[in-house]
C-alpha cells in the first residue's frame, strides 16, 4: 500500500526513455521528406536529452529562456528554407523540431502528456507524403510505444514495470480496439472535397513534363517507379496498341519541345472501332494530366464499383483539350482512380484548320535537316509517300536506339540526324516532326507511355516510368495520324518494351528486363499486394464508402440510423470484450471462478461471505443455513480449500471436477432464499 503518485514529480529515467522512444519513432518516418538540418536538429535534441547525463545539460533556468530562442531560430530557419511558413510542409518541419524542443524541456508528467499529443499528431503528418504499406507498418510501433508511455506516465516515478509488460498490455488493448476502429473507418463519413483549402506545397513532381528536351525521356526511362496501374474490364489490348497519351507538344525552339498553353476544349469524335473500358489507378505525380489509351472516347470519371454505367454521378475529373490531352481539374497530388473508355485507333479528326498553323512552326535552325526534307519531299509523289520514305530512311540508315546518346547542342536535330545517329525515342520523335514540318506537313510530338506489363498475380497492367515514350502525329487529310519513328528504328521497343529494344550492356532498369527472375516475380507479387492496399485502404474515399454501405444494405439509411447502428455495435463491442475478459480470467483460475460463483449465488440468497472468512468457515455457515444442502456445501468448501491451499498434484483435476459438479447440483439463489432456515 503506497501513497498515490504525485503528478508534479519530475519525470523519472524510465519515463524519459519511453518518451524518447515515442518521439524518435514519430520523427523517423519523416526524415526523407525534411531538409537535413531540420531532421538532424529535431532528433538531435531528443537524443541529447536522453543520452547526456543530467548535469551536462544546460540548467533548467538556462533552458527556460534558451528554448524559446531556439524555437524562434528554427521558425526563422524554416521560413528561410521554404520561403514561407504558413503552409503544410514548413508547418510539418516546424512541428518536427518543436517536438524535440519540448522533449528537451519536459519536466513533469504533464509535459509528458503534451509530448504524447504532439508526437501522435506528428505521426499523422507522414501520411502527407506517403501512405504505403511501409508507412502503415512503421506506425504500429508508434501506437504500441504510445501505450507504454501512457502506462509509465500514470505510475509513480520510482516504479519501473519494464518494457515487455506495458507493450503486451497495449497490444492487447489495441487488438480489442481494432473492431471498433474498423467500424469507424468504414462508416465515418468521408468528404468529397477539402474543408478548407490550405496552401498546398508543391510536392515533388515526377513523371512526364510539359516540355521535352533531348534526354528528358531517356532519364525517366531509367526509373522502375510505377506511373499507373490499369484494370481492363475485358482482355487487354495487344502490346503494339498500348499507346497511353499524355502531354502533346507543338512548340519547338530548335532543341526543346513544349506544349501549347491553355488550349481550349475539344470534342470527342465518333469511335471508329469498338470501345474498351478500363480503370486507371494513378500514382501521385503532382502533374495536371491523366492518361488514356489512344483514342479516348470519354472523360475520366471517378471509379467505383467498376461501373462506368452507374449514372449516380456526373462528376468528371478532367477536361479534354482540342489536342486531345486530358487535363485534370487539380494536379494529381494523391493516388486517384478513374474509369475511362477508349477506342483503339491511330487516327482521329482534327479540331479545325487552326491546328495547321500551330503545327508548322519551325525556328530558323537545323539547315541541313530542312534542306534534306525539302529535297526528299520533292522526290516523293505525296505527303504519305514522303512519310513512308522518311521512315524507310530511319530504318535503313545505321541509327542506333540507345539510352545513352551523345550530348547535342546548337542545331541539335542536324547533329543527331547526320552526325551522331544515336538516340532515344525523344530524339527520333523530335527529328521526325522537324522533317515533316520542313516538308510542309503539320506535325507534333506526343509524349506518354507505350506498353505496360500484365501482373500475373493480380491480373492488372503495370505501366512504369521505364515505359515512357515519345512519338509523332501528322495532320493528313483533316485527320491526325499517329506515326512512331522509334518503331522504324527499333521495332522491338513497341512489341517487347525497353528491355527488348536496347542493345546489350545498356543500363536497362531492373524491372524492364525481359528475364523473369524469382526476384522480379517476388516484386510483382509485392506490387499486387500494394495495388490492393492502394485500392482498399488508401483509396477508400466517398465513393468506395458508398459502395461498401450499399453492399451492407445501408445505402438508403438516414444519418441518425447509421449513428444508432454504430452506437449499438460499439455497445455490443464493449460487452463482448468484457465477457471475453471474464472468460479468460476464469480459464486462468477455474477453482477461483467456481468459488466466486458460489459466493455470488449465496450472497444473492442472503448469506454474503464475510471479508475475513475462509472457505471452510463460510461453507460451515452456509450449511447451517441450508442443512438440506449441507453435504454439498461442505464439499465445495473443502474442494476449494484443497485446490487453493493444497499441493499442486494430479488430484487437482479430480477436485476441480468435483467442485464443479457440486456447484452444478446446488439450486439457484431464488430457491435457496426460499428454503433458508431461520438461524443465526
Amino acid at each position: 500500500m503506497i501513497l498515490a503518485p504525485d503528478t508534479a514529480a519530475p519525470l523519472a529515467r524510465p519515463q524519459l526513455a519511453w518518451l524518447a522512444a515515442l518521439v524518435l519513432l514519430a520523427q523517423l518516418p519523416l526524415w526523407p521528406y525534411l531538409p537535413l538540418w531540420v531532421a538532424a536538429a529535431g532528433s538531435g535534441l531528443t537524443a541529447a536529452r536522453l543520452l547526456l547525463p543530467a548535469d551536462r545539460l544546460p540548467s533548467p533556468r538556462l533552458r527556460r529562456w534558451l528554448l524559446p530562442v531556439l524555437a524562434l531560430a528554427v521558425a526563422i530557419g524554416v521560413r528561410w528554407h521554404y520561403g514561407y511558413l504558413l503552409a503544410r510542409d514548413p508547418c510539418v518541419a516546424y512541428l518536427y523540431v518543436l517536438v524535440g524542443i519540448k522533449y528537451l524541456e519536459a519536466k513533469g508528467a504533464r509535459d509528458g502528456g503534451v509530448l504524447v499529443c504532439l508526437a501522435l499528431f506528428l505521426t499523422l503528418t507522414q501520411y502527407f507524403y506517403a501512405q504505403s504499406i511501409t508507412a502503415a507498418a512503421v506506425t504500429l510501433p508508434v501506437v504500441l510505444v504510445l501505450g507504454g508511455v501512457l502506462a509509465s506516465l500514470r505510475t509513480a516515478p520510482g516504479a519501473n514495470s519494464g518494457v515487455r509488460a506495458p507493450l503486451i498490455a497495449t497490444a492487447r488493448m489495441l487488438a480489442q480496439g481494432i473492431p471498433l476502429a474498423a467500424l469507424l473507418f468504414i462508416v465515418f463519413p468521408r468528404l468529397a472535397g477539402p474543408l478548407w483549402s490550405a496552401p498546398m506545397s508543391a510536392g515533388a513532381r515526377t513523371g512526364l513534363s510539359e516540355t521535352m528536351a533531348p534526354g528528358t525521356i531517356s532519364e525517366l526511362s531509367l526509373s522502375d517507379a510505377v506511373a499507373f496501374r490499369v484494370d481492363f474490364s475485358g482482355p487487354p489490348p495487344a502490346p503494339a496498341l498500348r499507346y497511353w497519351r499524355g502531354p502533346v507538344l507543338s512548340r519547338f525552339d530548335g532543341l526543346n519541345w513544349s506544349a501549347l498553353s491553355l488550349p481550349s476544349s475539344g470534342e470527342f469524335t465518333a469511335a471508329t472501332s469498338r470501345s474498351i473500358e478500363y480503370t486507371v489507378t494513378m500514382e501521385p505525380n503532382n502533374r495536371p494530366w491523366l492518361f488514356a489509351l489512344e483514342q479516348a472516347t470519354s472523360l475520366p470519371r471517378p471509379a467505383w464499383d467498376e461501373a462506368l454505367t452507374s449514372a449516380s454521378s456526373g462528376r468528371v475529373l478532367a477536361r479534354l483539350t482540342y489536342d486531345r490531352r486530358l487535363l485534370a481539374n487539380v494536379p494529381v497530388a494523391q493516388a486517384i482512380r478513374y474509369t475511362q473508355r477508349s477506342a483503339l485507333g491511330d487516327r482521329f479528326a482534327a479540331a479545325g484548320n487552326f491546328e495547321t498553323r500551330d503545327n508548322l512552326q519551325l525556328p530558323r535552325k537545323n539547315p541541313r535537316t530542312v534542306a534534306f526534307a525539302r529535297e526528299l519531299r520533292g522526290r516523293s509523289a505525296s505527303d504519305r509517300a514522303y512519310i513512308a520514305a522518311v521512315l524507310d530512311w530511319f530504318h535503313n540508315e545505321p541509327f542506333v536506339y540507345t539510352l545513352a546518346p551523345p550530348p547535342l547542342a546548337g542545331d541539335g536535330v542536324d547533329e543527331f540526324l547526320f552526325d551522331t545517329r544515336r538516340g532515344f525515342c525523344e530524339h527520333y520523335a523530335s527529328a521526325f516532326v522537324v522533317l515533316l514540318r520542313a516538308a510542309g506537313i503539320p506535325a507534333r510530338v506526343v509524349t506518354g507511355y507505350q506498353g505496360g506489363e500484365i501482373n500475373p498475380t493480380g491480373g492488372y497492367m503495370i505501366v512504369r516510368d521505364s515505359d515512357a515514350h515519345a512519338w509523332a502525329e501528322a495532320l493528313l487529310d483533316g485527320s491526325w495520324q499517329r506515326l512512331d519513328p522509334t518503331a522504324a528504328v527499333a521495332p522491338s521497343r513497341i512489341e517487347g518494351g525497353l528491355g527488348a529494344a536496347l542493345p546489350q550492356g545498356e543500363p536497362v532498369p531492373y524491372l524492364a528486363r525481359l528475364d523473369m527472375t524469382w526476384l522480379k516475380n517476388l516484386q510483382l507479387h509485392w506490387d499486387a499486394v500494394n495495388y490492393q492496399w492502394q485500392r482498399g485502404v488508401v483509396g477508400f474515399n466517398v465513393q468506395r464508402q458508398q459502395d461498401v454501405l450499399r453492399d451492407l444494405g445501408l445505402d438508403g439509411a438516414k444519418p441518425w440510423q447509421i449513428v444508432a447502428l454504430v452506437a449499438t455495435l460499439a455497445l455490443g463491442w464493449g460487452l463482448a470484450i468484457l465477457a471475453l475478459a471474464r472468460r479468460r480470467h476464469s480459464r486462468l483460475d477455474p477453482a477461483l471462478a467456481s468459488w466466486t460463483r458460489l459466493g455470488r449465488r449465496l450472497a444473492r440468497a442472503g448469506l454474503p461471505r464475510r471479508p475475513t472468512e475462509g472457505p471452510l468457515h463460510y461453507a460451515q455457515r452456509a450449511a447451517a443455513r441450508w442443512p438440506q444442502w449441507g453435504a454439498v456445501l461442505y464439499r465445495i468448501g473443502e474442494n476449494y480449500a484443497q485446490l487453493r491451499y493444497g499441493p499442486r498434484d494430479a488430484r487437482r483435476e479430480e477436485l476441480l471436477s468435483s467442485l464443479r459438479s457440486s456447484l452444478a447440483s446446488l439450486p439457484g439463489a431464488r430457491t435457496l432464499r426460499g428454503s433458508a432456515r431461520e438461524s443465526t
Partner: protein, 331 residues
Amino acid sequence: MNSALHWSTAAPPSWARRWRQRLWRVAPVDRAPVVLRHRRIYILPTRRGLALIATLSIMLLTSMNYALSLGHALTFLVTGLFAAALLQTWRNLAGIAVSPLAAGEAFAGGAITFTLSLANAGAPRYGIAVSTREGPAVSIDLPAGATRPVQVTLIAPRRGRVALGRVTLSTDYALGLWRGWAYVHFPLAGIAYPAPQSPPPPLPPGLEGSDARRSARAADAELAGLRDYHPGDALNRIAWKAVARGAGWYTKQFEGSGGGGTLQFNWAELPQNLDPEARLSRLCAWTLAAEREARSFGLNLPGTDLPPGSGAGHRRTALTALALFPTGPAS
C-alpha cells in the same frame, strides 16, 4: 459533499433523495460488503484523456481535409485503444468488494485510522486509490483472488465521534486516460478522545494509601487475567501465546498490585473557573497518567459514574465517556 449533506435537511421529495443517494451516496447506509458494479462506478476522461480527445479531433479534421485514408486509420486505431482503455479502467474497479473492518481512535487533533477490506474475486487489480474526503489517498494493488486491508486516516478536529464519511475508490489504470471511481459510505465512525492537557497536570490525591507508593511502576503490575480481545486493544497486551496455541484472541489484564491507591477523578471537584473542554482535557490527562502508572481509578462525570478499575478496557471506557461527554448542558 458538505453541501449535499445540507440539502438533505431541506426535506426534498423522496425521489430526489433516492437519486441523490444513488448518485452521490450522501448517507452512511451502505452495508458490508459493497460490491462495486455498474450502478456505482463512474468513468470520465482524465485531463490527459481530454487532451488526447482534442488531439484525435484535430487529427480527424486533418485526415478529412487532406483525404488521408491512413490518417483516418491511425485516428480510429488510437480511438479504439482509447475505448479499450475505458473498459480496462472499468474492469479494474468492477467486482471489488469493500467492507469496513475497523475504526480506530485518537486524541483530538490526531489522526484516526480506519481500516477497510478490499476483496478481489477476479483478475488482478492495479493502482486502486482509496481516499476519504480529506487526507492523502492510498494506492493498492490487489492480486487475483486476494483480500487486502486498506488503512485511511482522518484528522480528528475535536473530541467525539468521527465518521469515516464517504470513501472514494478510484483508478486510472491502465493508461491514465480515464478515471473510474465509486463511492462507498459505511456507517463507520472512530472516536476522538479529548486532547490531554499538556503539560500533564499532577494527579489528584488518591482515595487511600500514600503518595510514596505512587512511584510503583507498571512493571510491577501483576497479570490479573484474560478477557476477550476487542479491536483496538494495545498490541503489547494481547495474549500472543494463547493466539499461537490457537486458543483464540485474548487481552491480558493487569492489576496494579504494587501501585498507588485507587484514584477518583471527579468533574465536580475540578476548579470552577475551568471551562468544560479544559476539564475534559485534564480528566483525560489524568486517565492516561493513571493507566501509565497502572493504578486503578474511578471517573465521575455529570450523568456518568464509572466505578474504579484498571486495564485497557477500563481506560477505553473512561476515555470514551470523556469523548462523548455532551457539550451543551454540562456546565
